[in-house]
Symmetry: C2
């Protein structure tokens, strides 16, 4: 795969964003806590800025109030003229783009780490755009090595126009932890997310201080499609995720295996022609997106070495 | 405890209500399914009516749109004059009271079985008002015997004015199944709820056909208080349910045991002076009600025999 260039200067402008979806509580409360106690995000060479990305949705404890903020960072949204009828998240996306971007510009933040929860049994995983840079993959690898008790699987989204909050910065990743119900804070997931953020900042600090990292091979799950629930002619749900598929995120799904149970009692079998690895199985927020689960292929990628910064690179302490 | 009189006639007017909270999906989808296929609720002596109790909240997949419907069946709400500013659930409570009540009248339905989910690890349990009748406790006992794989614990709410949907009928119970995130349908919980509803209707059928049931002793959990989250001076959350308490619903909580973990890392210990049994630990819907968990006492009650209906009682087939 083609790799975007790795940074040749220290990363000084870093943001950690929580509450992009206002009912994903680990990020909401970590952001609120860090806004009061920002020292946890300080490292010798930089300080990451905590941001509550969607304050109105967080106050309402809902995913969004007008539209999904994490699908709003497209050039169509960011460059169109503001009107009084814009949904709140359109306005907020433009604000965040002014603050952390502008997207795809030299002024953009160096890195955004965006914090999410899922109701699916995804445990701890990391989402990246498939055309991301080797730097982000080295950070993933570091998280895996530093947190061996967590799976820290890496998922690559399909390429195409990016739309997520993290895409505003020059580089970015999303942490996705579950299962956790919407509107609930669970101590174990809260602690895991906090530890992963700390490791991410530690990795940036190592890089800023001149550490290089060797090439390595990494297993990634690459998005290759989606599966909707069975539906009635009127579009209502006609069934439910099969108990044999529920909670089996990251496990292989073979053609012919049961994936849904109709309310009438019948089973629906997977019709695909090859093994896939389902993700976000039965995620609450994806019912409205007509996705019962995401399909991925498991593949292996060779990530090139991350060369150390030139010794002369100035480390500015902000 | 004093017992209300047991019925002396067959129960012919029975309702099964789902979607009283629109994001508790088992009841929402069972009600929708039964409205299409009502035969599952038929028994020889009666047919239970399926009702989607809060259609607007179910369409929005939210607990409520204006106020909590399941706290709206008070005499203040039901007897006050309608205005154009009434929240949707106030109007809907009056409609349901006209249909299934009027509450506390001879015209009221014989039985309402109301279906709920919780994000807490409550498994399958049954909620009753503490001044309920022996008939309802015999139904609970029957559910326990017929579904030995489920705990089917019984919880008694404090007496006082009733406010729940089930209180509109002469008798009623709520089924509460979890853990299930809001907005998610899980196959195992869906099947358990469906089986418990079937057993409940079977019990009514046995009673209608003239079966009597002997006295028995039953363990119940009696509501005795609530515990809020630790909060900042501004009222925001200052901590999270302690990992040692999370998911420990129905387990004894001793004075001095840790119940919360502050974001700063400190532990908060339980200050009570006696052992309690926590319920609804970390339920999403109760954050706004300032309840991190409900406290109950475990006690044993002697339920008197349920005498058979007189042989001459006419069984009308509707």
């Amino acid at each position: 795969m083609p790799w975007l260039p790795t940074p040749r200067e220290p990363l000084l402008r870093v943001a950690v964003t929580g509450g992009t979806h206002g009912n994903e509580m680990s990020g909401v409360y970590l952001a609120r806590h860090w806004l009061q106690c920002p020292e946890e995000l300080r490292r010798p060479s930089f300080s990451a800025i905590p941001i509550l990305a969607n304050p109105e949705a967080s106050a309402a404890c809902s995913r969004y109030v007008g539209q999904d903020l994490n699908r709003s960072f497209t050039s169509a949204v960011l460059t169109s003229r503001a009107t009084s009828n814009d949904p709140y998240e359109v306005t907020r996306a433009r604000e965040l783009n002014q603050w952390l971007g502008p997207k795809a510009s030299g002024q953009a933040f160096d890195f955004i780490l965006d914090l999410h929860n899922t109701t699916a049994n995804m445990r701890a995983c990391i989402l990246a755009n498939s055309d991301c840079c080797a730097f982000a993959m080295h950070m993933c690898h570091y998280l895996q090595l530093q947190n061996p008790e967590l799976p820290c699987h890496v998922i690559h989204y399909q390429s195409g126009e990016t739309f997520s909050l993290q895409s505003v910065a020059k580089m970015g990743l999303s942490l996705e932890l579950g299962p956790q119900p919407q509107g609930v804070l669970q101590a174990d997931i809260f602690s895991q997310m906090r530890a992963l953020v700390a490791s991410s900042l530690d990795f940036i600090e190592l890089f800023n201080q001149g550490t290089g990292f060797p090439a390595f091979e990494m297993e990634v799950y690459r998005h290759c499609g989606e599966e909707d629930f069975p539906r009635t002619e009127a579009g209502d749900l006609a069934g439910i995720v099969h108990p044999q598929l529920q909670d089996q995120d990251f496990e292989p799904l073979q053609p012919g295996a049961p994936i849904f149970q109709l309310f009438s009692g019948e089973e629906v079998l997977y019709q695909g022609d090859r093994t896939v690895y389902p993700m976000f199985i039965n995620e609450a927020a994806y019912y409205e997106k007509h996705m019962a689960f995401m399909k991925t292929e498991k593949t292996s990628i060779l990530v090139p070495a991350l060369p150390p910064l030139p010794a002369a690179a100035p480390i500015q302490t902000p």
